[in-house]
């Protein structure tokens, strides 16, 4: 079993390597960021050249890539990739150095870290809610097939699945945030008039002093974005759960269980559900990358200060280091989520041979 995990992890390495290459190339297809200064008449060529030199933009591309990765640097090539304690350098991805934002000069890791928590608050909340509801609803609909609930869920699924997230968000704002009904705020994570900006030191001080108010405020701001994310996802996932459960209920072993005299409730919950959940686990596992990169649309609509919104802002500023950092994190999370889903599946399904 351990061998299987190790083997799959090793298989993932070439993909990860290629992802870094791809991400790097992607960011440099649009030319280098210094160009945005070129249009400004007040900026001289010398200043641009100095800028380029400072940011290492005048190195040949492979070298830039190598430095960004951390394999090249002050120390000789490849040696540089080792930890500083072992004589390596301290630049590059392998050392956790993602460079500096070309927009405001901060460490990319700081920029991302600041935005990671808001994203996770939003996505983890939504994820937990929708997975729970989707499984409950899907199983119930499958067990009570043709009932009113089942038909209702099917309709909800079709409609919900067809709603673009960004439109749903806009609609919720339109009808719930705006007069006459001002139930929920239209944007942001916290009320700018009564609380400091989220994540700043003053916010945490404030939080310590008024925990209930801060949580309540946060909760109020969470409702609409979470509702947006949850609706569409429940529509998709519950349909999947339902069909998986229906498949399972139609299997012969369910008939055998009934023939043995097993009570119906146990037939459903123990015999059928256990099998039905196997593909669901994979599905749900594969949605984990969403936790990092999936809320880009919702964050944009609700001006939620998360990583997705940061990405959009950085695109506007052509801030490549930040873009590369976010992209890398998102891609790596996808690779690891795939790995996790595979491993989880192997754990719960005894039929999977891992040799």
């Amino acid at each position: 079993m351990i061998k299987y995990v190790v083997r799959r992890t090793i298989q993932a390495i070439p993909v990860l390597f290629l992802i870094t290459v791809f991400t790097f190339l992607l960011m440099h297809v649009g030319g280098n960021p210094a160009q945005r200064f070129a249009q400004n008449a007040k900026v001289t060529q010398a200043q641009i050249a100095a800028f380029e030199h400072r940011w290492g933009l005048d190195d040949p591309l492979p070298l830039q890539y190598c430095k960004w990765l951390g394999v090249c640097g002050d120390k000789p090539i490849v040696v540089n990739a080792l930890p500083p304690a072992l004589g390596g350098g301290d630049n590059g991805i392998v050392h956790g150095d993602f460079g500096y934002s070309t927009f405001d000069g901060r460490l990319v890791t700081d920029v991302i870290a600041q935005r990671m928590l808001p994203t996770l608050i939003l996505t983890v909340t939504a994820y937990l809610i929708w997975v729970t509801i989707a499984i409950l609803a899907g199983v119930y609909a499958a067990v009570k097939r043709y009932s009113l609930f089942d038909s209702g869920l099917t309709i909800f699924n079709y409609v919900g699945y067809s709603l673009p997230t960004f439109w749903l968000g806009l609609m919720l704002i339109t009808f719930l945030s705006v007069p006459p009904l001002r139930w929920f705020p239209a944007s942001g994570m916290n009320d700018p008039y009564t609380t400091p900006a989220f994540g700043t030191n003053s916010y945490w001080v404030f939080f310590g002093q008024n925990p209930f108010f801060a949580i309540f405020d946060l909760g109020r701001h969470l409702v609409l974005p979470v509702l947006t994310l949850v609706t569409v996802s429940i529509a998709g996932d519950s349909r999947f759960v339902r069909s998986s459960m229906l498949d399972s209920l139609n299997q012969d072993y369910v008939k055998t269980a009934r023939a043995k005299g097993v009570p119906e409730r146990r037939v459903i919950l123990r015999h059928a559900l256990r099998n039905a959940l196997l593909p669901v686990i994979t599905n749900v596992g594969l949605e984990i990358p969403f936790l990092f990169s999936g809320a880009i649309v919702t964050e944009t609509i609700f001006a939620w200060p998360g990583m997705g919104r940061q990405f959009i802002e950085s695109v506007g500023h052509t801030d490549y280091p930040v873009l590369m950092g976010i992209l890398l994190i998102a891609a790596v999370s996808i690779v690891f989520a795939n790995l996790l889903a595979d491993v989880l599946y192997a754990v719960v399904d005894p039929r999977v041979k891992y040799d």
């Binding site: 079709y158 673009p164 439109w167 806009l170 498949d247």
Partner: protein, 320 residues
Amino acid sequence: MDNRIPDVSPTTSDAPADFEVALVSLNQWQLAWRRFRRHKLAMFGSGLFLTFVAIAVFGPFILPYDATNVPYPLKFCPGTTISANLGCPPLNGGHLLGTVGGTQEDLLTLVVNGSRLSLAIGIGAAAFASVLGAIVGGISGYFGGWVDTILMRIVDVLLSMPLLFVIIVFAKVFGYGDWRVILLVFALLGWPAIARLVRSLFLTLRTEVFVDAARAVGVSDMRIIFRHILPNAMSPIIVVTTLSVAGFIVTEAFVSYIGYGVNAAYSPTWGNILSNAQNDILVGNWWWPLFPGLAIVLTVLGINFMGDGLRDALDPRSRE
């Protein structure tokens, strides 16, 4: 007495003919069409989708307001004392869906005109991505070996990237708001998903006996791929392509909404119509986001119904 095995065939039976005899033989496509027709939701969905296609093709010709010629803006909404600065609500002064924005453009005109590019990009990107994906997946699945390994690594990498992020970057860098480039970008980033599907189809089909038979007769590999295996793999490919149209329409809408898609100044799409709407929404303009979005939702709904119907019709082993 005769030693023949008794023949139990009915010789003088005047029994009613209750044996099922099919007098018309149908090929698989005709059979599928029959099944599709019986699927009410699918027919409804197709109707919905085709309505929007019709709107896209013919709509601009029958609109009362010319898209390029916005009438002189009003000061007040007709019959009221509300300022017309932020557009007027629907059903006033001849504007069925109302007017929007400082320039008070007719929303109906915008939506109808927007349908052209939105649908064109959606359908075009889906078709293009499918063709590319089918070619790559077919070659990969059929030949196997290092060709397969290399191609699938590329697919893996592309599928590991968060697609929307990548699309936005490409669209901004190369797009210049040109819808054809946007379409290309979508297709170039969307083919991996199809490729993976086609590859797995080919992997199974390749082991079928009819492939060996074709090879034994001397059919070339390329021909086997395209004329022998591909027709058998068509059904899931068609279903996936259809459903992906919906995805591309929505993606285009968002990308244009945030400003990196089709340039609103040149031509409207359902997405870029909404580009500047957010401020107005906050002060009560509900029709601006509602109608273009409704167009998207209904189109996507239609496509989803249609896709489901296709899936049931084309796959004889469909359950439920």
